[in-house]
């Protein structure tokens, strides 16, 4: 899961871009050629989900699986693919399921992890206020 590949072309990555969104850090990797192209920043925005756009990557940064393979086999490469190909996957899910609203159970670990995340975010905010 540690393959560093370019999100645009799947070649080995040379540049890492860190994007901060909603207090969470995300790292995106790109090869030398793609990062030097003129419309790089526009493309970066589309893959990082900037300005509230849904993501539409060509390759999943989590596992290197391609969107083309998803379209052909209708299988995803890893759990992260659901976020990487969110636009195409959501469209497909709407076709195969009559409703996408989740009404089932939540794993216990998810609750405790969420609580820890909220606690950390709160203490970070409080820390910032003190320094101000």
């Amino acid at each position: 899961m540690n393959k560093k590949i370019c999100l645009f072309c799947g070649k080995p990555a040379k540049l890492a871009v860190i994007v901060m969104q909603e207090g969470k850090e995300e790292i995106f990797h790109f090869c030398g050629c793609c990062s030097e192209e003129g419309d790089f920043y526009r493309k970066l925005e589309s893959v990082s989900g900037g300005y509230g756009k849904t993501k539409s990557l060509k390759y999943c940064p989590g596992c290197g699986y391609s969107y083309k393979d998803f379209k052909e086999y209708r299988f995803l490469g890893c759990p992260e693919c659901y976020r990487s190909f969110s636009r195409g996957v959501t469209r497909y899910l709407k076709n195969i399921h009559s409703s996408l609203s989740y009404k089932g159970k939540t794993p216990l670990r998810h609750y405790s992890e969420k609580r820890t995340r909220n606690k950390n975010a709160l203490s970070r905010k409080l820390g910032q206020r003190k320094t101000e």
């Binding site: 596992c63 995803l76 659901y82 009559s98 089932g104 998810h110």
Partner: protein
Amino acid sequence: MKNNAPCAWNIIDRKTAWILENISSDTLISFRIRLARNLCGFPFPHNMTRQQAESVEKTITETLLSYRNGGQEVFIIQMNGISEIEKGFLFERHMISEELTDNHLPCSAVIFPREKISLMINEEDHLRIQTFCSGILPEDALASADKLDDYLGYKLPYAFSEKLGFLTACPTNIGTGLRASAILHIPALLTTGRAQVLFKDAEKNGTMVRGFYGEGSENMGGFYQVSSKETTGRNEKEIIENLQIVVNLIEKEEEESFSLISCRKKSAILRSLRKILEKRTMPSSVFFTLFSKLVLAKKLGIADFDIKMLRGLFFQVLPYHLQYSLGKKMSPEKRDAERSRIVRKQLRSLLNV
């Protein structure tokens, strides 16, 4: 049996016989709940390296070993350590899927016989939890699946999204990851020709009708698997309740169909029984037909034999069970001849019906 002592297999054999304990008496043979789960940080099995598959297998089996539900026994069977016949044996018992028998990556089956639970590691998803109950009470199967799933969900980092639910390799299973299915035996509905109409209604009501061994398998002698279709948009209980409504309807129709079988059809059943029993070779599909006709004849009161003997016979002559009990690989032709010999011996008295 390279890695597993023969005595362990005898225990598995004896303690998983409940799967079809209602096979010769009831319409609803068994009920199964299947939950599909995956771990964060690993690709799905079809996209995994050998090392990643080993790591997932180890993580899950170690967690399962710490799940001591009252100190009951648990069998962990590594698929690459057992023979093709043993794999087939587990498949015929519905403990594992056909996909797991063909998997070349490290994968395992874990069986808790007393709790009627079987798990598959590295099948289509990292983990598939299956719980069974014979006959009614699917709530029991859900409760026992939930108990184990809650434990594993606390110990392991499940791939889960608040918006979509449990994330699975195939998007058709996303959400609850739950597929409920019921194995039904409906020889009377097939005889009266009502089955196809009912199946169309069942499909309209959010269920799928498949063969005895599920997806991709064919109907054999009136054995079907009716499964829930949707895995999201409803909670676990609602999915099961919907399936139960469809199953109850099919059961009721099957009971009513017995009274619609005419005297002419009854004589035809007896004639075809005798014809099948006279043959010296018997493929599996023919045995399934024979089995259904025997159940039908018994319920209609036109033939008399021990129903328990018939249940024992069912397991004895399944292709892999046959090879397992004889301890050798056999060609389909030899199996068909041996099956015919066993069936004729057991049902000798019926030849004079």
